[in-house]
């Protein structure tokens, strides 16, 4: 690092000394500005996203005031409350995490603690393939194949829990194959690769000495994982899980196809619902005026939520990585 900086200072001075024209010096400076500009583009885009979408959403914010968090979304009656979608986003996100996190951590542990490298690599490829399948293909499969199939399972569960308090309210009979739960499952498939790969990175930073120490004391593998790997990588795994949550919150097209598209707030997980990105995707085409402004406003809220989740998650991951390097 420091050598590069010193060379940076030396380079412009050395150019005239070699008796060359001013050309290269100018080009050198120009290149530097070009590079800086490209780097700053990231910040510029993030700021512009916030400003431009908020501007377009202004009429929703101003006409509704705190009503933006109302519980009724009815474009025909000019009522644009965001709560059903925020609720749907939270519900599908939680369902996705409940299913994806144990599986992802399981795979991450399998890769780091159980199998040798030459078997781990193909497993990584295969799990990453889950991320290569485009969102819309998950949606197509979800609505044409998966939803009709799982509807029967929902119906069975629904009739099995009838009469049991609480469970009856959560897993009551389905209205169709498309539901909060179907969307949650599809999202779980989609976020598994990222949660797995980040957890694996975190777990791989556990010092080999600590592992060997635990084995030397006679610990079995699972005892070693609980005693050494888990305390060491807990924080980083939480960060990985939050990043998965961020993905699940913003994943649009798959959810738009399988969530059932009805803005309702209900405890029934097998009933049709809606979440923030899917309502934007499904209704934007027909929207004008305050309606369109409200959809853009949902985008602003979604942007804010995902930025908050991502900043926290990245900070956690980075802190745990730095601590691992220090240890």
């Amino acid at each position: 690092m420091s050598t590069a900086t010193q060379a940076d200072q030396a380079a412009p001075g050395s150019v005239p000394a070699r008796g060359l024209t001013a050309g290269p010096g100018l080009g050198d400076r120009g290149f530097r500005w070009l590079a800086l500009g490209s780097g700053l583009l990231v910040l510029v885009i993030l700021v512009l996203i916030a400003i431009s979408t908020s501007q377009q959403a202004a009429s929703w914010f101003s006409t509704e005031g705190w009503g933006i968090f109302g519980t009724v979304w009815d474009p025909a009656a000019n009522k644009f409350g965001a709560t059903p979608f925020i609720y749907g986003t939270a519900v599908t996100g939680v369902i996705a995490l409940v299913m994806a996190v144990p599986v992802s951590i399981g795979i991450a542990l399998l890769l780091t603690e159980v199998v040798p490298f030459r078997i781990a690599r193909p497993i990584v490829y295969v799990v990453d393939l889950l991320a290569v399948v485009p969102s819309v293909v998950w949606g197509l499969w979800g609505i044409l194949v998966f939803a009709p199939w799982i509807q029967h399972i929902y119906a069975d569960i629904g009739s099995a829990v009838t009469g049991i308090p609480v469970l009856e309210n959560l897993f009551g009979p389905p209205t169709s194959g498309a539901s909060f739960f179907t969307a949650g499952i599809i999202l779980a498939f989609m976020i598994t690769p990222i949660v797995t790969s980040l957890s694996r990175e975190v777990i791989a930073t556990v010092p080999a000495v600590d592992r060997e120490g635990a084995y030397a004391l006679g610990a079995t593998r699972v005892e070693m994982i609980r005693g050494v790997v888990w305390p060491h990588s807990q924080g980083g795994v939480v960060g990985a899980v939050l990043l998965g949550l961020g993905r699940a919150m913003g994943e649009t097209i798959a959810a738009a196809l399988v969530i059932g598209s009805s803005p309702t707030i209900t405890s029934h997980l097998f009933s049709t619902g809606y979440n923030m990105p899917s309502v934007i995707a499904n209704q934007f085409g027909e929207a004008t005026g305050v309606f369109r402004s409200a959809l853009l406003g949902l985008g602003v809220l979604l942007f804010a939520f995902t930025i908050i989740v991502n900043v926290i998650a990245r900070a956690i991951v980075e802190r745990s990585a730095r601590r691992a390097r220090g240890a």
Binding site: T5, A11, S14, V15, P24, D28, F31, R32, S38, G39, L41, V42, L43, L46, I49, S52, T53, Q55, Q56, P102, V103, S104, G106, L109, V114, V126, V132, V133, P134, S135, V136, V137, L140, W141, I143, F146, F189, T196, L217, G218, A219, R221, V222, E223, M224, G227, L243, G250, T252, L257, P277, I280, F303, T306, I307, V309, N310, V311, A313, R314
Partner: protein, 297 residues
């Protein structure tokens, strides 16, 4: 830890009883989680291939899109294939050079100062911004003024690719040994010359493979295109710089909710085409990396 129970026989075999059972259960659970992850993958790939392969033909890939009511053997998805190729290529041309330059700033010029660390952090955060937001963003600043076009779609996909390219390039630049840089400076080369003729070529394979993976990701995105290229065309719009356009992911999205078997069949065919494009890009990336690894050795 409660784990280390102390009084143990010097027997180095796997401990008997409950501890061994628990260990085995844990190992089985780990394998089970892998199986749980690949089962949906196998089902999706199987369905897409089984339903898509019978639809795909040269005619399917090049013919105009027929009305949804027509059966699977009528027409094709030509305009969407053309649109996907054009828009993805434009997005690549926009995002990859900017991403590489951005990474050059982060690693070669910033050298770990607060600004470059902040930009790197925000690039990470930006990879987590939902793709639909990029679509709304380009809609707000571009489409409202200049109308729907393939270019607008390319901007949205480019915004999505930019942080991915920055991050993967940055990782590659870290692997380029400092001695290469120092050697070039010792020969009197300027910083821009060192970067362009020594550092970037040294990391080229990794940079290219990272860029290909970013392209593969962008090619399958639907949400950013919804608000930028509009879709709904039946004939090709060869001009990506003006007028509404169509792409494979958007066509799949339209057809997925269609009740007509012909439209659904075209959806499956498009899905297979899209996955094939993503796979080709991914294999190309692996191929480039593999060659690079051999060259390194």
């Amino acid at each position: 830890m409660a784990v280390l129970t102390g009084q143990q026989s010097p027997d180095l075999q796997e401990p008997a009883g409950w501890r061994r059972t628990k260990n085995r259960i844990a190992t089985i659970l780990m394998w089970l989680s892998f199986v749980l992850a690949i089962v949906p993958l196998i089902f999706v790939l199987y369905t897409v291939i089984a339903k898509g392969i019978s639809v795909i033909s040269w005619q399917f890939l090049t013919s105009p899109i027929p009305p949804s009511v027509l059966p699977a053997d009528a027409g094709g998805v030509g305009p969407a294939v053309l649109g996907t190729l054009e828009i993805t290529a434009l997005a690549t041309v926009i995002a990859v050079p900017l991403g590489i330059l951005g990474a050059v700033y982060l690693h070669e010029y910033g050298g770990g100062n607060w600004l470059s660390r902040f930009i790197g952090f925000m690039a990470d955060v930006m990879t987590g911004v939902p793709s639909i937001i990029m679509g709304l963003f380009i809609f707000s600043i571009w489409v409202l003024k200049f109308g729907f076009s393939g270019l607008a779609g390319a901007f949205a996909l480019g915004a999505l690719m930019l942080p991915i390219v920055i991050r993967s390039t940055d990782e590659m630049l870290k692997l380029v040994p400092d001695t290469l840089r120092e050697g070039s400076y010792a020969l009197g080369a300027s910083k821009s010359r060192v970067t362009l003729t020594v550092v970037l070529p040294a990391g080229a394979a990794g940079i290219v493979s990272g860029a290909l993976l970013a392209v593969a990701r962008a090619a399958g995105e639907t949400a950013p295109l919804l608000f930028t290229i509009l879709g709904g065309l039946s004939t090709a719009n060869p001009n990506p710089f003006s007028g509404a356009n169509i792409a494979l992911p958007m066509l799949i999205f339209q057809n997925a909710s269609s009740p007509y078997p012909g439209a659904q069949a075209r959806g499956w065919g498009s899905a297979l085409t899209l996955i094939a494009i993503a796979f080709i890009l991914m294999i190309a990336a692996r191929f480039v990396t593999a060659r690079y690894a051999r060259y390194q050795r």
